[in-house]
């Protein structure tokens, strides 16, 4: 062996490459927290992954390159077109599918590792390997099947509504118990592939049963949860295989994925126990997040700022709330700041916005908003489908599809951000279905303060 080859195959060199990969993973995730650096963050993490793969291929014991190339070629041939061709609207189910195959890989690897430990060790395989193998098998299998069901629901292969089966809670508990009992029996020293297969199958059924009762609207949170699961199972596989790259990367995903799941649930006004218990128990709370349910998405100034500054066209729809808060000057400052970033801003003026005709025109003129930017309802409505973000400031009835009058049709915009004091109904006292739309998010608070906060966030971007 040449000196170079022996250096490259030195386990210390390989571990150093792993360390480089960890740094790139962590920096990449950090970058992904911020819109400006997110794209770079993803690329950095991808480089980290490439390094980890190359380092592993250098390991002396790694062999059978023909089969490795075969597997990776199949994976690339499937993965690249799938990622390239998927429609933007179908992204969540694509992520579910990618997550599922990751979980499937963990389950398969743990099964093979178990079979090999039976062949090689002769006597009992060691417990410190068996426990992580069993853990990886159970979680990996749940994740694979759960993700597939999530994909099916989002792709509408399966009905998106919660599917309730009789005695679900009991069946789930029984499945988990079967998997755990078999795991304990194996860990106690029984060598049986059959038991291992039973574990995989019961975990697979559990994965199905866990996701089936959950409504389509909660699916992103569930996918995020399963994503964290897959990370944990990968870390467990790392313990079993004595591979530090798997341990670190898997655990990073397990932990960051859990935090992210909580953030997502918070943003949707849902609690994770609620979603999961709803699924497990088949309780009525499940329906809350559904299309015909009544849950609103609240947002924060930072998020609103990102949506606004990365939009091509923003239509501001002011109402009485802007007048009350005397927010017109701040609104103009925000519009100026957005225009500086190349965003096209217009104002949609409803004939009865405010408490008197022309109320909004007067206020906005006072704030030196150029007259050409003020658009009448008839003029702006046909333009709203080409608008990225409609920013509703203290207007309610004039954008309410159930108000029984012609309205500014903000719901046709790509997304709607509504600045609102509270969930009270408007002057007309009619509940507003717009608030519950999927592309609507609400920013609660005084109009002026909210606009100020958003302005500050836009400036910081």
């Amino acid at each position: 062996m040449t000196p170079i080859a022996s250096f490259l195959q030195d386990i210390d060199f390989i571990r150093s490459l792993y360390i480089a990969a960890f740094i790139l993973f962590i920096v990449g995730l950090r970058f992904l927290n911020h819109p400006r650096t997110a794209k770079r963050g993803n690329a950095v993490a991808a480089v980290g992954m490439a390094i980890a793969v190359v380092a592993t291929l250098l390991i002396e014991e790694v062999g059978d390159y023909g089969l490795i190339v075969l597997g990776m070629a199949i994976g690339t041939a499937v993965g690249v077109p799938a990622a390239r061709n998927v429609k933007m609207t179908a992204m969540p189910q694509m992520v579910a599918l990618f997550n599922g195959v990751g979980g499937g890989a963990v389950a398969l690897i743990s099964f093979v590792e178990y079979r090999e430990s039976l062949q090689n060790a002769g006597d009992n395989p060691v417990l410190e390997q068996l426990i992580p193998i069993l853990f990886a098998a159970i979680i990996g299998s749940i994740s694979f099947w759960g993700s597939n069901i999530a994909f099916g629901k989002l792709q509408e292969v399966l009905p998106g509504r919660p599917i309730q089966l009789p005695g679900q809670q009991f069946v789930n508990a029984a499945l988990l118990l079967v998997a755990l009992v078999c795991a304990v029996v194996i860990a106690a020293g029984t060598e049986s592939e059959l038991l291992f297969l039973i574990i995989l199958v019961s975990a697979a059924l559990l994965g199905n049963m866990f996701v089936l009762p959950i409504g389509g609207a909660d699916m992103p949170v569930v996918i995020s949860l399963l994503n964290a699961f897959t990370g944990l199972s990968a870390a467990a596989a790392g313990l079993a295989l004595d591979n530090v790259a798997l341990i670190v990367a898997g655990m990073l995903v397990g932990a960051s994925g859990s935090i992210l799941t909580m953030l997502m649930a918070d943003a949707m006004n849902r609690s994770i126990p609620n979603i999961v218990a709803g699924g497990f128990g088949g309780v009525t709370t499940v329906a809350r997040g559904d299309a015909d349910g009544r849950s609103v998405r609240s947002t924060d100034p930072a998020d609103a700022a990102i949506q606004l500054s990365y939009a091509r066209r923003v239509v501001v729809t002011p109402g009485y709330g802007m007048a009350v808060a005397q927010a017109q000057h701040t609104v103009r400052e925000l519009a100026d700041e957005l225009e500086k970033r190349g965003v096209d801003v217009a104002y949609a003026i409803h004939p009865v916005a405010g408490r008197m005709p022309g109320h909004m025109n007067v206020l906005l003129a006072e704030a030196d908003v150029p007259y050409e930017q003020l658009k009448e309802m008839e003029e702006i409505n046909p333009e709203l489908p080409q608008t990225d973000v409609a920013l509703v400031i203290g207007a309610n009835d004039t954008v309410n599809p159930q108000a029984g009058m012609p309205i500014i049709e903000v719901e046709k915009a790509g997304s709607v951000i509504i600045l609102k004091r509270s969930m009270n109904t408007g002057f007309a006292g009619i509940d507003n279905p717009l608030f519950y739309n999927e592309n609507t998010s609400l920013l609660f608070g005084d109009a002026k303060e909210s606009v100020q906060k958003v302005l500050k966030e836009v400036e910081a971007l």
Binding site: G75, G231, A234, N243, V343
Partner: protein, 100 residues
């Protein structure tokens, strides 16, 4: 590596994972989930480590599938995240486009 060293690494990695996610704007939730999703495709390494020692058709078949799955997870995951993040790309000034 002995078990305790591995567990130490595991625990520390968990804390890094918790800390690395701060206050993420809602808009970035899905891309971030998708990127972490791609990272757990690292399980692909498990397939690489085992396949050299695998004997018999069944084990080799299962591992080739596992490697293919892991590769889909990694390659597809990073690509799809990249596409999602295209929405944050800066556009040319629309005012100049319109010749104002």
């Amino acid at each position: 590596m002995d078990l305790l060293t591995e567990l130490t690494i595991l625990v520390l990695a968990a804390f890094v994972g918790f800390e690395v996610i701060s206050k993420v704007p809602n808009t970035l939730h899905t891309p971030l989930m998708s990127a972490t999703n791609a990272i757990h495709g690292i399980v692909l390494l498990g397939g690489l480590l085992l396949i050299g020692e695998a004997e018999g058709f069944l084990d080799e078949l299962l591992l080739v599938i596992a490697i293919a799955f892991g590769t889909i997870n990694v390659v597809g995951g990073f690509l799809v995240t990249d596409r999602m993040l295209d929405m944050f790309r800066r556009r040319p000034d629309p005012k100049q486009e319109r010749g104002e």
